[in-house]
Amino acid sequence: MRKTVLMRGGYILLTLFAVLAFLIVPADAQSPKKTLVVALNQDPDILDPSLSRTYVGRIIYEHMCEKLYELDENLKIFPQLAAELPAFSDGGKTVTIKLRSGVKFNDGTPMNAEAVRYSLDRHINIKGSARRSELESVSAIEVVDPMMVRLRLKAPFSPILATLADRAGMPVSPTQAKKMDDKFGTAPICVGPWKFVERVPQDRIVLEKSEHYFDAGQARFDRIVFRIIADDNVRLANLRSGDIDMMHLVAPTDAASLKKEGRFDLSSVTGLHYNSITINLHNKNGKNTPPVDLGTPLANDPRVREALDLSIDREALNQVAWEGQYTPGCTPISPVSPFYDKGRKCPIRDVAKAKKLLADAGLAGGYAFELTVTNDPQQRRVGEIIQGMAQEAGFRITLRPTEFASMLKDDDSGRLQALVVGWSGRVDPDGNIHQFHTCGGSLNTTGACDKPIDDLLNKAREVSDQGQRITLYKEATDKMVLQRRNLLYLYHQNYIVAYPKNLKGYKAVPDGLIRLKGVSWN
């Protein structure tokens, strides 16, 4: 009896050690791999092209929900499920789309004009649609023949092509959509080289090679597993340990050391994204309420905003905050865009001139305001750098780090003087400018409203000639960034993706999404 207690204790300990020893065997050696594990930093929302809103969700769609049109590495739009680029007629108000033939959804049903009509109609009309505003310009969708669809627009709207190269251009299987209704996102079926298998929320999304895809040779992995790993350090440790194969959004601070290790290739591409200091001019009672005189020099005196602009060294900001890995900029249009104004020079830091402007504005003694930043280490650092640079010109900036959701809310409600905030970017410049800068624009939180700018931006929507649009955007940009200065653009984020050296064929597109068609293990 006495002994048994001790002996039992001894056995338990022994068993524990045995279990430990058993567990600590080399983790499975690399077998010929048919699977690719990709780590994303965020869990997508619902996987229904009509309803989903998150950026990371689009990475999943790239592989299981193809679109009428797609982007190449130079942001050129080419037909994916369409047979050719659309024909615009009737002064740009009619868009005719010819479809690729022999395409099947991943449930084996045919992708034809009726399916496309059904899908676009669903995008627009489903309850809670996230596509409705993107397709606002569409007044009717007609089936011309089994392989041709025609869109009637309310007014000429050239960004429609770029819109159809994103979620609004994704046909979904009508059979599945009718069956699942608003639960389609739990078992999505579209056209894609891979098909949806399962999803464990906040953990993984698994896709499997499709047997119905028209270009099967492009899918070189039997399975793709997207794992959700929010923390940058943890994602990196998992890449190094081989638990994941591909890491999306490598932090600029880690990129250099990862490169030095020699085991990984890094792909870095300047994105369509921008980051800006957004300055509240007239928003006091919430966005899209009548403009109010805020009574502060920052809001009322363009010279103060110009002084702030001139106090910032964008190149140094990029070096210090992002180790030089991002791309300095001063407009809403990224240098990767075909619409980028190549002749534009960003303001050079000029502290003397900034001081003089402040003095001219009657603020020779300096000027204090509050700048809100997202409460994460990188954005706080950006804020601190701006604070330091602006101080030399006479600005006393108080930084207010705020959690992201609260910051957006405060910005909408007009409670902020200025904030540092980004935008993920759209292929068509319209999506990066119009809603922020036009009177009553859906994301116009600064309360800025100038008819000449609106006229230019509206015109740029109507004309379809690219050269003409570039000129219009150039003129509008001059007015926005050299006169009004409600958004001081700072830099464009680079999308850095890391993967082992034996992974071949990866090509980065400036929208920052991962595309694995044609990629394979060597």
Partner: protein, 320 residues
């Protein structure tokens, strides 16, 4: 005994209702709009309004609360705003994972702490005692995220002996499950072990200096008999209390541990839910956690009275 149980259950129910009320209002007091967060910076007003209406976010808060509570009592916790999956289903998927993690951590903590604590108490003020105390001090002081990252870097990145992260179900792959669970469980268990060890030591020292222990020794019983059969039983009572209280810490610790080891459990669920202002999910998760917590406390009280009958017999507490 029945009377005791009834009283405890009544108190638990009130606590539970208070918690739901606090959580429900609390989560709505954090600034930020779930619809807007969902859309990120990419929002359009009409779509957002539709989300708000769909999830009843436009009604007054008391109305929302009553509607939610009524449904919750019927077992319907609503659906996540972000993924549109039923909250009950999501929780049912996550809870067993964290429970396994917590149980595993508990086994590790007890396995380390109780023997070490007893040993330390018996060999009080020796080098061993000092050493055990020093180790436990480290255990309390080392932040779990640091310990976790270090373990990953050492065991996974350098030695390649354990996978760095993830989770597979025990039923699908028992070995894989244990391989992935051992590091997080150790990290989670380490901090708990440190606390437990100190408690065990103190409690044992106290018990060992009691009169009946001296009597036992003077009867000529061997030390191990005195320690294990006489002292340990009484010495364990405060430990069980501590264990019950520490379950909360364990759940809290799981939040950090699950982030580091990418375990798709309850802890990560709640962090993500709060950040995305997924009200139904936050409420559901907290409701279930609170129930678990209240239940554990109830069980601790009951197990107490089972171990020491004096506790459940009124007016005899001073008998010794």
């Amino acid at each position: 005994m029945l009377d005791f149980l009834a009283r405890r259950i009544a108190i638990s129910t009130v606590t539970f209702l208070l918690i739901t009320l606090i959580v429900f209002t609390g989560v709505r007091m954090i600034p930020g709009d779930p619809a807007r967060v969902l859309a990120g910076t990419d929002a359009d007003e009409a779509g957002l309004q539709e989300i708000r209406v769909k999830y009843g976010l436009t009604d007054p808060i008391p109305v929302q609360y009553l509607r939610w509570l009524t449904l919750a009592l019927q077992g319907d916790l609503g659906e996540s705003i972000r993924t549109r999956e039923p909250v009950v289903k999501t929780v049912a998927m996550k809870l067993p994972i964290t429970m396994q993690l917590a149980a595993f951590a508990l086994v590790i903590a007890i396995g380390i702490a109780i023997p070490a604590g007893i040993f330390s108490a018996i060999r009080r003020n020796t080098v061993w005692d000092l050493l055990a105390n020093a180790v436990s001090l480290c255990g309390v002081s080392i932040p779990s995220f640091w310990l976790g990252i270090m373990l990953i870097l050492f065991l996974s990145v350098r030695l390649h002996v354990l996978p760095a992260s993830g989770f597979v179900s025990f039923l699908d792959d028992p070995l894989g499950n244990l391989q992935r669970m051992i590091m997080p469980a150790f990290v989670l268990g380490a901090a708990l072990a440190a606390v437990l060890m100190r408690q065990t030591r103190n409690s044992m020292i106290e018990v060992l200096s009691a009169n009946y222990i001296r009597t036992a020794y003077s009867k000529g019983l061997a030390e191990r008999v005195v320690v294990f059969r006489h002292a340990l039983r009484n010495g364990l009572i405060p430990i069980v209390t501590i264990l019950g209280l520490q379950m909360g810490t364990l759940m809290g610790g799981a939040v950090v541990t699950e982030q580091i080891f990418v375990v798709p459990g309850f802890g990560r669920l709640i962090v993500e839910a709060v950040f995305t202002r997924d009200y139904p999910l936050v409420q559901g998760v907290v409701l279930i956690t609170a129930s678990a917590y209240v239940l554990i406390n109830l069980l601790v009280d009951v197990s107490y009275s089972l171990m020491n009958p004096r506790i459940r017999v009124k007016g005899s507490a001073d008998e010794s």
